[in-house]
Amino acid sequence: MHRALLNASRRVATVRSMASTVEGDAFRLSEYSSKYLGHRKAAFTEKLEIVNADDTPALPIYRVTNAVGDVIDKSQDPNFDEQTSLKMYKTMTQLNIMDRILYDSQRQGRISFYMTSFGEEGNHVGSAAALEPQDLIYGQYREAGVLLWRGYTMENFMNQCYGNADDLGKGRQMPMHFGTKERNFVTISSPLTTQLPQAVGSAYAFKQQKDNNRIAVVYFGDGAASEGDAHAAFNFAATLKCPIIFFCRNNGYAISTPTSEQYGGDGIAGKGPAYGLHTIRVDGNDLLAVYNATKEARRVALTNRPVLIEAMTYRLGHHSTSDDSTAYRSSDEVQTWGDKDHPITRFKKYITERGWWNEEKEMEWQKEVKKRVLTEFAAAEKRKKAHYHDLFEDVYDELPLRLRRQRDELDAHVAEYKEHYPMLETLQSKP
């Protein structure tokens, strides 16, 4: 017993002496750096200092042009050719005109719901143009310009808003919930932020492919970034090293909630490095800046490092046709943003200066687009909706017996009470 006590005493002394040497400190710092802090250099400090979040500098906002569309640093000009530039401009303006017409049609009760993209056209087209066709896109709901850029037709937009039989989604979702497998745009759903961790999973699956040249891109708003799924997605993307771009449209509002009531930190980009996301904040109303940032982000993502882009912009329109935004922000604020910094105006200068555009072409183009939108609108309005049997399909891959019985019940009911279902006339014949 006496000998055991001596040994124990010696052991304690040894531990104490080791802990006080440089050797112990070096060991711990090495462990912290390599295993706890993602290979960032760990260091001790004897200065008691709590980091003041309010003092951390904001990430700067990358831009190529100023508010009136002048290129500031020529080395950053992507120098688009005429064809690409005109396609970009036409996509933005086509979206803008379609938005005006569909917004009005909802006011007239011809479609049930609509959400415009006013003020955010630049970040849609700028980012979409920097991606490859095979890149899989997950959206929120205010990214119609991405679809337009990818060739989603005006007809498809109208069919979805009307929910007629030709709608790719078969009339099951509210207007604005677009999707197209052919163009790699995953069908939009209303629950916010759910698409973020999904996009990460898809990116992981792509990474597994040999010689992968495909990334996932997921769009979301600043408000959606407050959901728990955003935290899940950012963390999973970093730890599982996924080829993904997180594209946040920070437009200042989540319906009526201003960003001052959404977060207390340095926006959304400020969260990026904390998760291990490679991050940039960009002028969302500068198509050229958005394009450059997204193109570089894609390159980084393909090395299996997730990237976060926060595009700073402003929601010029109401949140949706169910919202009157004058109830929580002044018309002056909206007018000022629209007058002083509009993505379409800025880019128009780019193409005008190069002699590719002028007012005469503008007038012709506006007229042409209006005609096309109205034509497709009228055509979609006339198309019949799918037969009600369609409401039972695609719940599973096949129709379960129990569900088929429910369909049969409805058939018998409609046969007996058809005069009380006037909508039957607007449906296609039984398949």
Binding site: G169, T187, S189, P197, A205, Y396
Partner: protein, 366 residues
């Protein structure tokens, strides 16, 4: 994380449970195997091993298949993924951050991209953080896209049911929470043979499936399991004991309670009870149960989950409607009480053999 730590003691807990006294059930190996499996070579396996085997076969036969969740890399807290990372690599069997909504959403995305996703939620009790992803997203993915996209290659495995000492958050049976969601398939096996066949069916089914594994059976349930690749069809119930006097429906561990109660009823009441293992809770095999009740004239449904809005209610209502003229006594349900799952009072909470026996007695004497 301390509350999760109980899982690390589950092995000891299981041993203590055996020492302390009899488990609330006795596992009954399959007496007849599904068609085609009789002549296959067999090996003794417990439930944990049969699940492991099913996942190994799934990953061997499908290069896209990945298995992920909390702690699956080292073999999982119930050892279901033992050695799979060694065999298939870190990019196919890997740990995720501790976040169930992330696990489910990530799995949906993997499946939407065309790969097979086997996601693990460590305890059924912690599936609720993923509820929005499963109910609003996974279940509706195909429908809302007009069948342009789907996440059919997603299977979510999770542990399930009572374990003797799991209390509120390691004992739950949440299947009824999901049966009210069209678009999901829900499956609960009663033993190693069923677990392997049903899990392989889930993994290969083109619909998102939730597979609930009765954790009390992981080590206690052992039987000869066919060694090769085989599947048991989803959506089909199985009559595990024939009878002419009463139909008793159960799933998971409760099937063994039902079998024991049926045996007791034969001995003491001379009643011939037919026991049906539902196996797939959604879409369930309505016709199989209806045909049985048309023959016996009586129905009792029993499950560990609380009685109000438990899945027994759906079965009872449907059978009442379809078998109205055949029913000789009211349909009864023997289930957990409408309380959270208690720690020290578990023996009084569970729908035990004798509670089921008593229900049988009251039914045949009605």
């Amino acid at each position: 994380m301390s509350s999760r730590a109980v899982s690390l003691f589950s092995k000891c807990g299981s041993r203590i449970s055996q020492t302390r006294g009899k488990a609330h059930f006795t596992f009954q190996p399959s007496t007849t195997l599904p068609a085609g499996l009789e002549n296959l070579e067999k090996t003794k396996m417990n439930l944990m091993q049969s699940v492991n085997e099913a996942m190994r076969i799934a990953m061997e036969t499908d290069d896209s298949a990945v298995l992920f969740g909390e702690d699956v890399a080292f073999g999982g807290v119930f050892r279901c993924s033992l050695d799979l990372q060694k065999k298939f690599g870190k990019d196919r069997v890997f740990n995720t951050p501790l976040c169930e909504q992330g696990i489910a959403g990530f799995g949906i995305g993997v499946a939407a991209a065309g790969a097979t996703a086997i996601a693990e939620i460590q305890f059924g009790d912690y599936i609720f953080p993923a509820y929005d992803q499963l109910v609003n997203e996974a279940a509706k993915f195909r429908y809302r896209s007009g069948n342009q996209f789907d996440c059919g290659k997603l299977t979510v495995r999770t542990t399930w049911g009572a374990v003797g000492h799991g209390a509120l958050y390691h004992s739950q049976s949440p299947e009824a929470n999901f049966t009210h969601t069209p678009g999901l398939k829900l499956v609960v096996p009663r033993g190693p043979v069923q677990a392997k066949g049903l899990l392989l069916s889930c993994i290969r089914d083109p619909n998102p499936c939730i597979f609930f594994e009765p954790k009390i059976l992981y080590r206690l349930a052992s039987e000869d399991v066919p060694t090769g690749d085989y599947t048991i069809p989803l959506g089909q119930a199985e009559t595990v004991r024939s009878g002419k006097d009463l139909t008793l429906v159960a799933w998971g561990t409760q099937v063994h309670v039902a079998l024991e109660a049926a045996q007791l009823a034969k001995e003491k009441l001379n009643a011939d009870v037919e026991v049906i293992d539902l196996q797939t809770i959604q879409p369930w095999d309505e016709d199989h149960v209806v045909e049985s009740v048309q023959k016996t004239g009586r129905l009792i449904v029993t499950h560990e989950a609380p009685i109000s809005s438990g899945f027994g209610a759906e079965i009872a209502s449907t059978v009442q409607k379809r078998c109205f003229l055949n029913l000789e006594s009211p349909i009864d349900r023997v289930a957990g009480f409408d309380t959270p799952f208690p720690h020290v009072h578990e023996p009084f909470y569970l729908p035990t053999v004798h509670r089921v026996f008593d229900a049988i007695k009251k039914s045949v004497n009605y």
